[in-house]
């Protein structure tokens, strides 16, 4: 009753580790192997998870299992760490990252209404990704350009003095881009 019935066998520990290696890039495997030669390899867990997220854009179940098997750290510990830090994403990121500033100035200037409009337009909540993987939506702390409040940042580019009415037009550019 192997969970991966397509796999021929995952009976021995060696087979499990070999399988885990196939799911991670060489660079990360080498980093793990190197860290295991040094004292306290478990202290490298966060670094390894950062590398995995950098490579895949998020931490998937398969990758976290592989990290656990290769670093020989209990999987529950790996997922415990991954869910503790806001930095780690457990779902794939959309092609375009929308971050709405929820800092004080933006909030006072109506950031919440922008969030509501974005949620309505995209059909997702904060922290989620659209089904077509085109957009991810996130709230963020002060982006440091309060003079433009309320602001929305998309893929690192700042849109200032946004109103709910302007939201559809902003999103439209990205739909167009993806079609072309």
């Amino acid at each position: 009753m192997c969970a991966n019935s397509t796999q021929t066998t995952l009976d021995t520990w060696k087979e499990v580790q070999e399988f885990a290696k196939k799911t991670l890039p060489q660079e990360i495997i080498e980093f793990i192997e190197q860290s295991k030669k040094e004292p306290h390899p478990e202290s490298k867990l966060i670094k390894v998870l950062q590398m995995v997220q950098e490579h895949f854009g998020y931490l998937g179940k398969t990758q976290m299992d592989a990290v656990a098997y290769l670093m020989e750290i209990p999987t529950a510990k790996v997922t415990g760490v991954a869910t503790f830090y806001h930095y780690f994403r457990l779902v794939p990121r959309g092609k375009n990252m929308i971050r709405v500033c929820l800092g004080t100035a933006c909030y006072v200037k109506g950031a919440e209404r922008i969030v509501e409009k974005l949620k309505e337009e995209l059909g997702i909540h904060l922290g989620e990704t659209t089904k077509d993987s085109l957009f991810s939506l996130e709230g963020t702390r002060c982006l440091g350009c309060c003079g433009l409040a309320p602001v929305v940042e998309i893929n690192g580019e700042v849109y200032g003095q946004v109103t709910p009415d302007k939201v559809p037009a902003i999103l439209e550019q990205f739909y167009e881009k993806s079609e072309s």
């Binding site: 009753m1 520990w13 209990p74 529950a76 997922t79 415990g80 503790f84």
Partner: protein, 591 residues
């Protein structure tokens, strides 16, 4: 380990104005305990590592601005401690109130009502009103598992389950996930317990101070079967139940209650009351036969015992390479159930589908075992229909208004009721080994052992290795309880560090008497308390001592069933009915 070369320095301290000298390195909690001062604790457990998360055990120390946690603070020369000042009482009360604030207010309907550590603390610290009530966490119950149910809403994040799972069992299935208000203790990826590396031993249930982890209840199933006139309801009780059930009715731990328990079951309306001991004797006959065969052929050694379902889950998820070494014998429960629905059914002329088999077990992993496909008949019905823990049975008896203490003794029913002393000791660590040795000795030498007691494998605290001379043979045996200890033996086998012939492994500390389905410790004892485990074990050794027949193969009912039904031990029919197989499972645990 204390340094034996340099004499440990004594430190003089003052606790509640009482002078006391304790060795350097002692904690405030230990020092207070020494002079009979009881400091309340919650996340602390004497057998687990220190966490200091709950802050309930705070004390006031002269010259310190902040309160110190007695569980982790070490004493120093001249330390002046107050454990019960008005300030401390107020602070402790506030701490417990804040924990309660994030906890459902459902004590009356809670499974732990009456034996909940949080409830007891709230009472003893004088929490009489809820001053901080506000928003609290809401999480759904996770009842996906066949054995262990998670109720995260009740969890107070003391981390005791996380520690017992990691430190005592070496399973590391539980960990805190998320942060702040949304923190939840759960397996990796939030998977159901059965889909995680959980081995269903239930030690987390035992260590939980509240009802955040409980067993999957089968009591409703059993009540309905009892009320169904078409069902012939058969019950069997495991060896270790008789050693612990009395505790549920205020009897002194270690008091055997076999006869009273049987009477209570009769009053509950069961149609036949069998003894899992019968299955235990049968297990020994089959397992000793299997062992002697492997010994003579010098193959697949060591033989690993297979009675403990928590250990079997561990084998499949952590050490699948060793599956060929495990005995193929079904557990005593599954053997008894199988024979109830075959041998007994035929004898009685009842259709197996009309028989409902209930097993009372000290174990929550047995609930998982009962539902395994390997333990279903060729027609697809399970041989065991319901598994009750000792706790569930105690509750059912109480529900009927029966006080076990007042009952007379009666006997188990035939034909699956008679057992040898070798079966009784199955319930404690080393017991399966001892029973197997009693029979193996006779098979190998032609004579029964001069002394039935194999003290080399008794009272094992964690792990013991022994060398035994049987006839011309020298056998290396090992007994382990608690899976962290088992890991030590298993790694030695895997790395070819040592050659064993026979290895007994029980998942729970102390064996079945310390199982995850046993009663919560009575007042004055704590979970994993060696004293409590020793008392329960002594009940079983007492019963063994008092029996005329001590060796499984001399049980007349066993001899009869082979003659009438099973053929020869290890023969074809016996194999078909009494043996099983195991398979590697994912996710794989880190060992």
């Amino acid at each position: 380990m204390k340094d034996t070369k340099t004499k440990t320095k004594l430190v003089n301290i003052l606790i509640d104005n009482k002078k006391v000298s304790v060795p350097e390195g002692t904690t405030v909690l230990e020092a207070a305990e020494k002079i009979g001062i009881n400091i309340p604790t919650l996340c602390y457990h004497p057998n687990l590592s220190l966490l200091g998360a709950c802050r309930v055990c705070i004390v006031e120390v002269k010259g310190m601005d902040a309160y110190l946690t007695a569980c982790s603070a070490k004493v120093w020369e001249g330390m002046e401690i107050k454990t019960n000042s008005p300030n401390i009482r107020q602070a402790r009360r506030d701490i417990v109130e804040l924990i309660l604030d994030n906890h459902p207010m459902d004590c009356q309907t809670c499974e732990r009502n009456g034996n909940c550590e949080l409830q007891n603390l709230a009472y003893s610290l004088g929490v009489r009103e809820r001053l901080f009530e506000g928003e609290r966490k809401h999480f759904p119950i996770d009842a996906r598992s066949k054995s262990v149910v998670r109720v995260p809403e009740k969890c107070i994040l003391c981390g005791r389950c996380v520690r017992v799972c990691a430190e005592v069992q070496g399973v590391y299935n539980l960990s805190q996930h998320g942060r702040g208000f949304y923190t939840q203790v759960m397996p990796a990826h939030g998977a159901g317990m059965d889909e995680s590396v959980c081995i269903q031993c239930g030690q987390c249930i035992m260590v939980c101070p509240v009802a955040a982890l409980v067993e999957k209840s089968h009591t409703e199933k059993v009540w309905s079967a009892l009320a169904d006139p078409k069902k012939h309801v058969v019950i069997q009780t495991a060896p270790s139940i008789r050693a612990a059930i009395g505790e549920g009715f205020g009897m002194e731990p270690g008091t055997p209650a076999t006869g009273k328990m049987v009477t209570a079951l009769r009053l509950l309306g069961f149609d036949a009351i069998f003894d899992t001991n019968f299955g235990a004797d049968l297990t020994i006959v089959e397992e000793a036969t299997e062992f002697v065969k492997r010994l003579r052929k010098k193959e697949k050694l060591p033989l690993l015992t297979s009675c403990s379902p928590g250990w079997i889950n561990f084998l499949e998820k952590f050490y699948p390479e060793l599956i060929p070494y495990a005995s193929t014998c079904k557990s005593p429960m599954s053997m008894t159930s199988t024979l109830t629905k075959t041998y007994y059914a035929e004898k009685k002329g009842i259709e197996p589908k009309d028989i409902f088999v209930v097993a009372v077990m000290p174990c929550v992993a047995k609930k998982f075992e009962a539902e395994r496909d390997e333990h279903k008949s060729p027609d697809g019905y399970p041989y065991t229909d319901a598994v009750l823990t000792t706790r569930e049975l105690i509750w059912m008896i109480k529900c009927y208004g029966i006080d076990l203490k007042d009952l007379p003794d009666t006997d188990f029913d035939d034909p699956l009721g008679e057992s040898s002393g070798g079966a009784d000791i199955f319930g404690t660590t080393g017991g399966v080994m001892e029973s197997a040795l009693r029979m193996a000795y006779e098979v190998l030498t032609g004579n029964p052992p001069e002394k039935m007691e194999f003290n080399e494998v008794r009272a094992v605290e964690g792990l013991r290795e022994a060398q035994l001379n049987i006839g011309s043979l020298t056998l290396n045996v090992a007994v382990a309880n608690g899976l962290t200890n088992a890991k030590t033996v298993l790694n030695r086998i895997i790395n070819n560090e040592k050659e064993y012939h026979l290895v007994e492994i029980m998942a729970c500390p102390g064996g079945c008497i310390g199982g995850g389905g046993q009663p919560y410790p009575p007042k004055g004892y704590h979970f994993l308390d060696p004293e409590l485990l020793a008392k329960r074990a002594s009940a079983l050794y007492k019963i063994d001592q008092s029996k005329k027949i001590r060796s499984s193969n001399h049980n007349p009912s066993i001899q009869k069933i082979y003659k009438e039904y099973l053929g020869t031990p290890g023969g074809e029919r016996a194999h078909q009915l009494l043996h099983t197989h195991y398979h590697p499972r994912l996710p794989r645990g880190i060992r």
